[in-house]
Amino acid sequence: MFVFRNYTVESLFGEDTAFSGYGDISLIPDKENQLVWFYQVPLNFDLQSQLKEIEITRSKLQFVVASLAPGQSLYVLSLENLFPLRYSDTDTSLQDAVSGFNRLAMDLAATNPAVRFLDFGEFLSKYPAEEWINWRFYFISQMILSPVVAAGFKDWFNQRIAQIRGARKKCLVLDLDNTLWGGVLGEDGVQGIKIGGDYPGNAFLYFQEALVTLSKMGVMLAVCSKNNEADVFEAWNKNPFIKLKSDHISAHRINWDNKADNVRSIAKELNIGLDSMVFVDDNPTERELIRQQLPMVAVPEFPKKPYGLMAFYAKLLDDYFRAYLLTDEDFKKNEQYKANARRNLSQQQFTNLTDFIRSLEIEIDIMCVDEFNLPRIAQMTQKTNQFNLTTRRYTEADINGLIGAGADVYCISVRDRFGDNGITGAMIVNREGSTAKIDTFLLSCRILGKNIESAFFYSIVNKLLEQGVKELQSCYIPTAKNAQVADFYERHGMTLLDEKNGEKYYGMILTKPTVIDDYYTITYK
C-alpha cells in the first residue's frame, strides 16, 4: 500500500506501507496496486492560503487519478478540517471548499471504478472534535491525529476496504422470543407478546422495521426459533404489530431441534456458506453453542436491554452488512429467492429434468462487459464460491486491468417464467493468437440446477470458434467449496492434460460448433 499525504500519518497504517513526501505527487509507484489519498485541511491561519492550497490539492488528486495504471486502485479519504476555527457565522468559504473537494472525489469515484471514496468524517465523528489533534504530539512530530484517534483508525480503515472488496455477509439468522418481540410466545400468547405500543414493545417494533429495510437491501433473513411452528404462523397472521413476517423471510426452522443443526440446514436450503451467516439470539447458551459448533458463523453479543437494539442494529450494519455499492441485483435478490422457491415446487410435478427445464422458458442474454454490468461482475468474483472454477477474486479495477491486457469478459442475464434472475454468471477469457484460455468461469448458485452452465459454456466456445480460435485451455482450482465443479470440464468435452496439487489443466481443439439444447432462448447482446 502507498499513501499520498500532506501530514505525518505513518502510525495509522501497517508496517509495510510506503508514503509520499508531504504534499508530493511527483512519484506514483507502479508496483503498488493499492494507493491511498489521505490529505487534511492545511493547518494555517490565513484563510486565503488555505483555500488556495485546497484548490491545488484538487488538481493534485485529478492528476493522480488520471495517471493510474491499469490494475491500480485509489482509495480517497474525504478531506476534513481537524482544527475548525470560525471568525464569523456567515463566512462558509472554507467549509464550501472542503465539501467541494469531497464532491470532486465522489464524482471521480462514480465515474472511475478504480477510485473509491471513504468518508473519513464519519470515522472522526466518533470522537469529540477537541481530541482529533493532540497538540503536544503534533508539535514534536507533526503527527496530525492524536494517538487516541489513531488507535481506532486501522480497524475502521480495514473494515471499509473489506467492504469495498465485497466481503458482505449474506444472511441474518434471527431468534424470535425476546429477540424480535418481548416475552415468550408459547407462554404470553399472540396478543401477550410485546411488540409495538409502549416500551419495550416499541423498541422491538423499530428493530423489526429496520430488519425489513435490511431485507430490501438484499440481505436474506432467516428465522431459527424454539417454538411451535403453528403458534408462530398464528402470530404472523394475527398480530398486526409484527412487521417482519414470512414475506421477508427466506427460510425458517421453527422446531425444538438443536440450533446448530438448524443453522446448517438453513445454509443448505439457501445454498450459501456458513461463513456468510450472522446469528442473532438473546440466549447466551444458544450463542455459545453456535460459536463452538459452527465457528464460521458470526455471532454478535445481544443487547441486555431492548433500548439497546438500535445501537445493536447500527453495529450489525457496520460490521456485517454494509456494502460499498448496492447493485440492482441486491435489491431484487430476495424476490429472486422467492421465485426460486416457486420453481422448486413446480419441479416436483415433473418426472424428468428436461421437461421441467423446457417448461421454465429460460431466456439467457450473453453480454460483453460494460460500465453497467462491471460492478456486478466484480461482485460475483468476490462472492461466488460453489460454481466457480478458479475462484479468482477481482475488483472492478482488476477486471479493467485484464480487459486492458486483452481479455474478453462476458456475463449472462437469465430470465424464466417465474422471474428475472438478473446478471448471474460470468466468464473471463484470455486471448493469445488462436488460443483462448478461460481465466474465470462462475455462476451464481441461484440459477444452478437447470444446466444453464452448459448452455453458457458452449455458447462462448462456439463464439470463440467463430472468431477463429483453434485451441481452448482451462483449469480447475479446488477450494473448500467448489467440489461440485471438479469434473465440469471433463463432462464438457475437454481433455485433462496435467494435474498438480489438485489443480487440473485442460485443453480442447475446436473444430465444429456444439449444438445447444433448444429449450434455451439465447441472445447475444
Binding site: E10, S11, R136, F137, F139, I140, S141, M143, P147
Partner: protein, 73 residues
Amino acid sequence: MDEKILEAMRKVFRSGDIDSTTSQANCETWDSLHHLNFIVELEEAFDMEFEPEEISEMKSFAAVKSIIKNKTK
C-alpha cells in the same frame, strides 16, 4: 517499574533483545515513529503525561527511568 518500561519497549520495538542497556542508538526499530508509540504506551502504563522536552530526552532505558522517577517524586 523497570519491568513495566521493558514491557512497553518490547511491545513497541518488537524485539526480544531488550534490556536495561537498550537505547535508540543500539535498537534498530527505535525510530522517530516508534518513539511516539512508545511514549503513548508509557503514558498509559504509568498514567502520566510527558512534556515535549522530556519526550525528546527519553531515548534510552536509563533516561526513561530517570524521567519517570523524577515525575513520581
